[in-house]
């Protein structure tokens, strides 16, 4: 029952419209310093000449995204000036909090989400109805995206839209467009470069083949496209390129952000502290490190007491190591259907092992994974828990009491919608061959039958149920029991607990994804 395109568009716009209403209602809610960051960039790009964009020091929020994003802010600043000139004044507009700027910026995010909508449209227009709607629910109504983009304030929606567009072109087999869009995306936010190796290997194997000469020719073509994009972005900054690079890659920031993202390094740090504690107990003297984790890295001293120091380079190597099995797989068999899976995996690795990772970066792998989630029962079950865990890990971003019901309700609502969506899609079917599928339905099972069929019912096994109950326990502890029993002592402890708990799920997801890719 394939609906025609205008009807799909209308349906999709309905989803977007409903989400937009909710986002409109969220306009007065809390926004973080990222709001002032973007406002300052509006002012910067409007008022100063190009040469000073990356060297200006008026505000501590310097431009640390690549030039296309700067052009984007420049484009927005036209409208900002029409709405209220003070927004774009570099000095007068500092920490400007009036209604005009709030409305303008919030609405600009809502409108830029249309890019995401288009990306999703391209991805889902050929799917069957239930899968399509399920994907729309997962992405357009994603609570994590609402929390990060529309409350905390960022522009991830349209960046992820570009990524989705790129994936959709790759899935259609149009590699040049896919590569082009990815290059464009990189020039918007270089953080997306983690999937670079995947793209490179895939395009090399999938696009640049057909004999040596043709392959080389295609390689040259692709290369030219990419170089052209980069030239368009960085060309105007040719003489200041070093300044630009230094602003874009501020490595002095430390291994972990002020709030620890639920990644591998959390466990590394815990292990280090634990070992130090144990060794001290056994009488071995361990010097306490001069630097701390939450601050920047001071010189060469390592904040780790026992375990070896971690440098940006070592994190890069770890990410590449984690990626390598996937790259080998791509090299062997680059088929377009699994592109989304590989890209999500790449971002998962980047999140787990990267340097100075924000918890917001979990969006980078959760959203593309939604493309995969609707394909099979195991994927759906895995995604259900992963999206709940990553959304929960974003809760500390909104620490004010008035947002508390909003974030809880968003997550609950989304979980229920997911549950019903997946249950409707994967409803019980009664053929006799189902009996051995029952074993693979349990979450903890390692054997994954790569049957992409609709047999089996959508259930969460014991592991999953325990995990979800655990989330409730962690939250109760953080909100109620910790202040009650411990008062103001150890204020970092609940956040740490959330980090660790979600980190467990992320690590599990990484292993699961790797297994799935290898088994494909």
């Amino acid at each position: 029952m394939l609906q025609n395109h205008p009807e799909i568009c209308r349906h999709l716009l309905w989803f977007f419209g409903v989400a937009a209403c909710v986002k409109l209602l969220l306009i007065p809610s809390y926004h973080s310093t990222d709001f002032e960051v973007h406002r300052h960039w509006l002012a910067l790009t409007r008022s100063l000449p190009l040469s000073q964009w990356y060297s200006d020091e008026t505000s501590p929020w310097t431009l640390d995204y690549p030039p296309f994003f700067a052009y984007f802010e420049y484009f927005l600043s036209f409208f900002a000036r029409l709405v209220d000139p003070q927004i774009v004044d570099v000095h007068q507009g500092l920490n400007y909090e009036a209604d005009t700027v709030v409305y303008f910026q919030r609405i600009s995010v809502i409108v830029s989400d249309l890019c995401l909508v288009y990306g999703i449209y391209r991805l889902t227009r050929k799917l069957e109805a239930k899968k399509r709607v399920a994907m729309w629910i997962l992405v357009i109504w994603s609570p994590a995206l609402v929390i990060v983009d529309h409350m905390h304030f960022q522009y991830n929606g349209f960046l992820l839209g570009l990524l989705m567009l790129s994936i959709s072109y790759l899935q259609d087999g149009r590699d040049v467009m896919g590569g082009f869009l990815f290059a464009v995306l990189l020039c918007f936010k270089h953080l997306f470069a983690v999937a670079g190796p995947v793209y490179f290997v895939y395009l090399l194997r999938h696009y640049c083949r057909g004999g040596l000469l043709k392959g080389l020719g295609r390689l040259a073509a692709m290369g030219t496209v990419v170089v052209a994009v980069f030239a368009a972005a960085f060309g105007p900054f040719f003489y200041h390129i070093q300044q630009v690079i230094s602003r874009m890659f501020p490595f002095g920031r430390g291994l972990c952000h002020a709030y620890w993202a639920p990644n591998f390094w959390v466990f590394y740090i815990i292990l280090d502290k634990g070992l130090a504690f144990l060794l001290k107990k056994f009488g071995i003297d361990i010097p306490t490190p001069a630097a701390s984790f939450t601050g920047g890295l001071v010189g060469d001293s390592s904040p780790f007491a026992v375990l070896p120091q971690v440098t940006p380079l070592s994190t890069l190597i770890m990410v590449l190591l984690a990626l390598s099995p996937c790259l080998v797989k791509i090299w062997k068999n680059p088929h377009p259907g699994s592109v989304a899976r590989w890209i999500s995996y790449a971002y998962t690795c980047g999140f787990l092992f990267g340097w100075h990772v924000h918890e917001k970066a979990s969006l980078h792998f959760v959203i593309p994974l939604a493309i995969v989630a609707v394909q099979s029962l195991e994927d759906a079950q895995h995604y259900f828990l992963l999206s709940i865990a990553t959304c929960y890990s974003l809760f500390p971003l909104l620490y004010e009491a008035q947002e508390y019901p909003i974030k809880v309700v968003l997550l609950l609502l989304h979980s229920m919608l997911m549950w019903f969506g997946f249950s409707a899609k994967f409803s019980k079917v009664k053929p006799p061959t189902i009996s051995d599928n029952k074993k693979t339905r349990k979450k903890g099972s390692s054997s994954s039958s790569s049957r992409s069929g609709e047999e089996g019912e959508f259930v969460i096994g014991w592991g999953g149920k325990c995990y979800i109950i655990g989330i409730v326990i962690v939250e109760t502890w953080g909100q109620l029991l910790h202040p009650y029993f411990l008062g103001d002592k150890l204020p970092f402890a609940p956040l740490l607990l959330i980090s660790i708990y979600c980190g467990v799920e992320v690590v599990y997801s990484w292993v699961w994804q790797l297994k799935r890719i290898m088994a494909d």
Binding site: G17, S29, P405, I406
Partner: protein
């Protein structure tokens, strides 16, 4: 799958509440009542107050809705699962209720919830329970008297059909008295105390209308200056007589031929007549007719949408005063989306039988467009010096005319139900 969109309404309520500045006036009034008991710093108050509205909504209104839906669909025994879900959604995302309770700040959800539960009890043939619930609702907010005629006439009609009418009536009477006694217990120790409460409840000194409400007295005051012509006493009498006359037809119908659906229409009619003709009506009182309208939403979708629009429209000046324009727009847009779900099922499935291009529908469309324009005009254009309240008056006029049309339409529908078409002057089918 759509069934759980219902939960969504929970989130909506919290947004309107948490995200918007409190309004002095009602907010301060409520807060003052509470401050007599508890002391808290100002910032926490806002949060606490919002939470109390949200929790009372959750605890009282939501279960009542579920009870109602259960009773309603039992009786009418139709409705696919999706229809039920949409109906719940429509009742819960009643934009006026959300705006007033969580934006402007009031506790209407409690009395409305109790009244709704009473309605549900009647639908499931539990009359005594309905009495108790309705009395509780009355005692929470005396605005529920808007529904009283409907309850009264329906129950009376039912009683008269039973074997021992007097017994039934006395049973009901006892229950009512008993509930009232329970609630008023602390004040019943002396006549003075009881009278004090009563006088605070009905502040007749305030005058027959305030501000610009879309009811009869206010609208006609453009031509007939009631306040100047008559003293308050006589105006009180006029309004009482007018109100009773207006809700008399529907009451009679229910007494003669009580039925569940007729009862719902009766609620709508009596509350509309109170709204139009009663004393000291506020714009917020449009909530009361709107509630039974949402209950009947699945029956007549197109007029219902129009009613919601005009109800919101009549509240627009209040919304602007409270700085709630953003949630107004967002809720309005949301309602439009919800009334036109992608499947488009319950909307277009019933055609009311009239040709789309009849004169009436053209006029209605023009009026609708006019009201949209008025929204913008009200916000941007400055009214002329001579008539500083010109736009409020226009809004009021437009809303009032539509409410009167609705009153005719719904009264007709109620009479059509029982098959009695009394009075061809009321029988003109407005669609």
């Amino acid at each position: 799958m759509f069934g759980l969109l219902v939960r969504w309404t929970v989130s909506l309520h919290s947004y309107s509440g948490a995200g918007n500045p409190p309004k002095f006036g009602d907010y301060e009034a409520q807060r003052h009542w509470m401050e007599i008991t508890v002391n808290l710093p100002a910032q926490d108050w806002k949060l606490l107050m919002r939470f109390t509205v949200l929790s009372s909504d959750l605890l009282i209104f939501f279960p009542s809705v579920l009870y109602f839906i259960h009773a309603y669909y039992d009786v009418h025994s139709r409705g696919r699962k999706a229809d039920v879900a949409w109906h719940i959604l429509l009742i819960l995302i009643n934009p006026c209720l959300v705006l007033i309770d969580h934006g402007h700040f009031q506790y209407n959800c409690i009395s409305l919830g109790l009244a709704l539960a009473a309605v549900a009890a009647i639908l499931s043939q539990r009359d005594l329970l309905a009495c108790v619930l309705f009395c509780l609702s009355l005692n929470h907010k005396q605005m529920s008297t808007y529904f009283a005629p409907a309850f009264f006439s329906h129950l009376l009609g039912k009683c008269l059909r039973r074997k021992h009418p007097l017994l039934e009536i006395s049973k009901l009477g006892l229950v009512v008295l008993g509930t009232f006694a329970m609630v008023w217990w602390p004040y019943l120790h002396s006549r003075d105390a009881a009278l004090q409460v009563l006088s605070r409840l009905a502040p007749f000194e305030r005058g027959i209308y305030e501000d610009y409400v879309a009811n009869f007295w206010c609208t006609s005051s453009v031509l007939i200056k009631w306040k100047r012509l008559f003293p308050t006493q006589s105006l009180r009498l006029f309004s009482m007589v007018a109100t009773i006359l207006a809700c008399l037809p529907s009451m009679i119908q229910q007494i003669l031929a009580p039925s569940s659906k007729g009862f719902l229409y009766g609620l709508l009619n009596s509350s509309l007549s109170f709204y139009l003709f009663s004393f000291q009506v506020h714009e917020k009182s449009i909530l009361l007719p709107l509630l039974p309208a949402t209950l009947l939403a699945m029956e007549w979708p197109r007029p219902f949408k129009l009613l919601t629009h005009y109800a919101l429209f009549s509240m627009f000046p209040l919304v602007c005063r409270d700085n709630l324009i953003l949630p107004y727009i967002a809720l309005y847009a949301l309602c439009i989306f919800l009334y036109h779900p992608p499947g488009g099922r319950w909307d277009d499935s019933k055609r009311q039988g009239s040709t789309p291009l009849s004169l009436v529908s053209v006029l209605l469309t023009l009026a609708y467009l006019g009201s949209l324009v008025l929204h913008i005009v009200y916000l941007t254009v400055r009214p002329p010096e001579r008539y500083p309240f010109l736009f409020e008056a226009l809004i009021m006029l437009l809303s009032f005319s539509h409410f009167v049309l609705f009153a005719f339409h719904t009264n007709t529908k109620q009479w059509m139900l029982s098959g009695h078409l009394i009075g061809s002057d009321k029988g003109k089918k407005q669609h």
